[in-house]
């Protein structure tokens, strides 16, 4: 698979991050097979344990895990806010860990943007100045950087609040500033570390919609961290589920819900209303010869939730069509009912 696709934007190969004094030595001795008990006896704490993954151009990878699972540590390794203990991290084919400090700063000034859970705005700067800050440290002239910052303010819908200080904004507004700041340098890679976790549920929902709208405009390569499985399902192209520093499973939301590979993943998927994950294409049955169909059709890539009511109220099975309008399968009431009310297998 990997050879067929273009080169990955981010590639992690057996990345480890172990906190503690003798971490490197212990890791070498254990030859990469990290036993948690043994390490904690030696005073080490495991952050990231043998993680390998790729993120491709324009893809959104959501890293999901509960607190302490190592998801934040992983994203800090990939942005090199912390140095991985072992392994390789390639950004556009360049080895991040071997990069000199100067090049790292250049990389951050041009290619990377990051949004933080608690917004991390500079308290002494206005909205405009906060957003212009990454450009200012790069040496962009004030007039230019403020011009660019104003564009960003428009993009995130904060026009009119340019001169406010972070202390005068609501949480949702502050995070809009954080998002605008991270986008100011037009990065290729966008890290979001639980960006909506500190917000109220209603605002969170609104910000997720806003975020999807932005991504449809910008099409960045994204690593998005969350502890909220619903959020992951809503946003992700692919999800990586982390547990005790390991990636338990990585794949498209549908794959994970339908085929959880470990018990841990299953615990999450059990709770998930599957009509919100599955697409019509993934549950359709082949059309039988001479079958009578309803007059309307549904597209192949919509989730069941959106069509369930219509399919259930139809008297005949409903055709599923692809982009060209070809019938590629049919949806039966029974199948939909099973998804909505049946026990997960």
């Amino acid at each position: 698979m990997a050879e067929e696709k273009a080169q990955a934007v981010i590639e992690c190969r057996s990345v480890y991050k172990i906190f503690g004094e003798n971490a490197r030595k212990l890791l070498e001795e254990s030859k990469g097979r990290v036993d948690e008990e043994e390490f904690s006896k030696a005073g080490c704490i495991i952050g990231v344990n043998n993680v390998s993954l790729e993120v491709h151009q324009g893809e959104m990878l959501v890293v999901m895990g509960l607190s302490g699972s190592g998801k934040s540590t992983l994203v800090r390794c990939i942005s090199r806010l912390t140095d991985a203990t072992a392994g390789e991290i390639l950004i556009d084919g360049q080895d991040l860990l071997k990069m000199r400090n100067k090049d790292l700063i250049e990389l951050r000034r041009h290619k990377m943007g990051m949004v933080f859970q608690n917004f991390a705005l500079l308290p002494h700067k206005t909205v405009l100045e906060n957003i212009a800050f990454p450009l200012q440290v790069k040496g962009v002239k004030t007039a230019d950087s403020h011009g660019r910052a104003r564009e960003m303010i428009e993009l995130v819908g904060l026009v009119g609040r340019e001169k406010s200080f972070p202390r005068e904004l609501s949480g949702g507004q502050q995070q809009r500033v954080g998002i605008a700041r991270s986008l100011a340098v037009e990065p290729d890679i966008w890290f979001l570390d639980e960006p909506f976790s500190a917000l109220d549920p209603l605002i969170r929902r609104e910000m997720q919609d806003e975020f999807l709208r932005l991504q449809s405009l910008l099409n960045k390569t994204i690593v998005f961290i969350t502890h909220d499985f619903d959020e992951a399902l809503r946003l992700a192209d692919r999800i990586a589920i982390m547990y005790h520093g390991r990636v338990e499973q990585i794949g498209a939301p549908v794959d994970i819900v339908l085929n959880p590979v470990t018990d841990y993943v299953k615990k999450f998927t059990n709770e998930v209303p599957r009509e919100r994950v599955l697409t019509t294409a993934s549950v359709m049955e082949p059309k039988q010869e001479g079958q009578e169909l309803s007059e309307f059709t549904v597209a192949a890539d919509v989730i069941i939730e959106q069509v369930a009511e219509r399919v259930l109220s139809a008297t005949k099975p409903v055709a599923v069509v692809d982009g060209q309008g070809e019938i590629i399968g049919v949806l039966n009431c029974k199948r939909i009912l099973h998804i909505l009310f049946g026990k997960p297998s």
Binding site: I105, M112, F116, N118, F119, A120, L122, H124, V137
Partner: protein, 662 residues
């Protein structure tokens, strides 16, 4: 039947006292070297220090300086050259500031800033930082200084403060940043700062006296050295408190290290750093007053002269000026610290710089006005109002009407309480004191604490100051007992209601800003010069932290707990004794710790009006310019404070965590 407590703690306390009592009782049969340290085995640390310092000053790294004009060759040392350079540089900075405030001397023949201009500036700054109330406080205080004939001395004192503060700030900020960056620096500075902040004021004066002589420049140096440690502390604290995410956001924005420091870390730590600025200003003012002992001119020096000749009225007047300046500087710098940044970049020029324009305008106006009305330029002493006769009258009145009463009280206190207590302290066998302190250390913090406390007191014994230290200990423990009693009483009453709490804390804040030296003035007025007046000053001064911590401790008892108690039908008294006080106790003990430190400092300063303890010896070392002796004595005082600090913290901090209050 008496039920004896059998838990571990009670047994430890009982054991400690039994051992102590047995050792005290067994005094008669002990060999002499257990009772007090034999004079024959003291270490001459003071002499070693003196020799080392004289070597530095006179022998180390000799340099021949050739004066081309006079064609003279002079042999000197690097240390001398540096100290002379520093002192010259400081002197010229002081001269510049004094030229502005007090008029041209030494080269510049410019006239001084009229006092009306200074008052105008004070009004504007107060208004800009907080509003009308602060503006009135600052401006009226300046007017008071001018009208009541305190101008000359006040401006001398202020000029020293204005020179010392920026230097102490830059030094403190840089060292704080270095300590944040390099663990080694932090670890090296930590114990030095601990000692530096518990060393009495006078101990700073002696080395400065030796290296820099006497005068304003020497005073400025002592002030800078004294005021820098809190700035280092608060810079480090502020930088450490900056959230990890903000740091990360700075790094992800592409900051290099310098940009991160100047544009992210320091601005984010602004509030703590500004509190540091406030501390530096207050410490500078306190030290400038005391530096009058090594010839720093100004209010402190005049005060010293007046007290020396027992002109109490004049002294009180000076004290009021010092207190006013302290309050104004404190309020202004705090207002600056709490001020949030405003957005002004796109306002028109005259709005954006309105305060600067107001300052320039008022200055020009007062210069023009003072051409026509000389009193607007300077109010000569001869026409200035003086309150001294009033104060002298008050003193006379007190003496006339209360003398016999006060005298009786004094005699009673001396004969019945103080002298017996002093005799008890000085006759304690040394081994009993060690057993008590090290035992407490052992039970509170294990062997390590016992050794630390033991080492602190061993230094005192080894340097031969045991007996004098016990006198200091007696004075401190007497005043701490009374102060804690006063503090607890006021604190408990004040914390009942929120408005009394607020006022009590405000009074504590205000009293705490006064340079400690001024506390001596009113007590001299009441009790003349003796032990009782020193102790009274110490008690007043040390009651401040005792009160403050009691209030804070009681107020920090969680609301939910209080409500739960009330709902279980507990009476008010029960609630106080069963719930509030036990929960507040750890914080109150931290207050006791502060009380001890405050008392130690004040006891030493009290030496100025006559005590027979370590403080007196320090004063003597000062008058003999005996640097080694002065430093060793200072360390003795510091170590006593640090030992108590260690013991109390070992108890209070873990206890606070156990109670879930930390």
């Amino acid at each position: 039947m008496v039920h004896l407590p059998t838990d571990r703690k009670s047994i430890q306390v009982a054991l400690l006292f039994i051992v102590f009592a047995v050792l005290v009782a067994g005094k008669g049969v002990m060999p002499g070297w257990l009772l007090t340290w034999p004079a024959s085995v003291t270490l001459p640390i003071a002499e070693w220090l003196n020799q080392a310092l004289f070597f530095l000053q006179d022998e180390f790294w000799k340099i021949t300086v050739i004066d081309v004009e006079e064609d003279l060759a002079e042999e000197t040392t690097a240390v001398m050259l540096i100290s002379r350079g520093v002192s010259d540089a400081l002197q010229s900075s002081i001269d510049v500031v004094r030229n502005i405030l007090l008029g041209g001397r030494k080269g510049f023949a410019l006239p001084a800033l009229p006092w009306t201009a200074v008052a105008g500036i004070a009004f504007v700054i107060g208004y800009a930082l907080q509003g009308w109330r602060l503006s009135l406080l600052a401006g009226l205080s300046v007017i008071y200084l001018a009208v009541f004939g305190q101008w000359q001395d006040s401006m001398r004192t202020l000029s020293l403060v204005f020179v010392a503060v920026p230097i102490a700030l830059v030094l403190g900020l840089s060292l704080g940043v270095l300590a944040y960056r390099y663990k080694v620096v932090e670890l090296t500075l930590a114990p030095l700062l601990n000692v530096a902040q518990s060393l009495p004021h006078f101990s700073y004066l002696i080395p400065v006296l030796v290296f820099f002589g006497i005068g304003d420049n020497a005073g400025a140096i002592a002030t800078i050295i004294f005021a820098t440690p809190p700035m280092i502390r608060l810079t480090l604290l502020g930088l450490k408190k900056v959230s990890v995410e903000v740091l990360e956001s700075g790094r992800m924005s592409g900051c290099n290290n310098l940009q991160l420091l100047t544009q992210v870390q320091i601005p984010s730590a602004r509030h703590d750093i500004m509190i540091g600025v406030n501390q530096v200003i207050m410490q500078c003012l306190a030290m400038v007053v005391i530096a009058s002992f090594i010839g720093a001119s100004g209010l402190g020096y005049t005060l010293l002269v007046m007290l020396g000749s027992l002109k109490i009225g004049k002294a009180l007047e000076l004290g009021i000026s010092i207190v006013l300046i302290a309050i104004v500087l404190d309020r202004l710098s705090l207002a600056w610290a709490h001020k949030q940044p405003d957005y002004r970049a796109d306002l028109p020029f005259y709005v954006r710089y309105k305060y600067w324009l107001a300052i320039v305008g008022l200055t020009l106006l007062s210069i023009i006005v003072s051409k026509f009305f000389p009193y607007a330029y300077k109010i000569p002493r001869s026409v200035a109002i003086t309150t001294a006769p009033f104060w002298d009258f008050m003193v006379d009145w007190v003496v006339r009407n209360w003398y016999s009463g006060l005298q009786q009280f004094r005699t009673f206190l001396l004969v019945e309480v103080l002298i017996p207590m002093r005799d008890a302290y000085t006759s304690l066998p040394m081994v009993a004191v060690f057993a008590l302190l090290m035992g407490a250390g052992l039970f509170l913090g294990g062997v390590r604490s016992a050794l630390i406390v033991g080492a602190f007191f061993a230094f005192i014994a080894l340097t031969g100051w045991w007996n004098k230290a016990m006198i200091t200990a007696y004075m401190v423990s007497f005043s701490v007992l009374i102060s804690v009693f006063i503090g607890l009483s006021i604190g408990i009453i004040a914390s009942r209601r929120s408005f009394t709490t607020r006022y009590a804390l405000l009074i504590c804040d205000t009293l705490q800003t006064f340079p400690s030296f001024v506390y001596l003035i009113p007590v001299i007025m009441l009790f003349q010069v003796n032990d009782v007046s020193v102790l009274t000053a110490v008690i007043i001064y040390a009651s401040i932290p005792a009160t403050r911590y009691t209030i804070e401790g009681l107020r920090s008892v969680p609301q939910g707990l209080q409500e739960a108690a009330t709902m279980s039908g507990v009476s008010r008294i029960q609630r106080l004794f069963k719930i509030e006080l036990p929960l507040a106790l750890p914080h109150i003990m931290l207050g006791v710790n502060q009380t001890v430190i405050f008392a130690l400092f004040m006891v030493i300063i009290g030496a100025f009006i006559g005590t027979q303890d370590l403080g007196q010896e320090i004063m003597q070392a000062l008058s003999e310019s005996d640097m080694g002796k002065g430093l060793v004595l200072g360390l003795c005082v510091a170590f006593m404070g640090l030992a108590m600090d260690h013991l109390i913290n070992r108890w209070a901090l873990p206890r606070k965590q156990e109670l879930g209050l930390a």
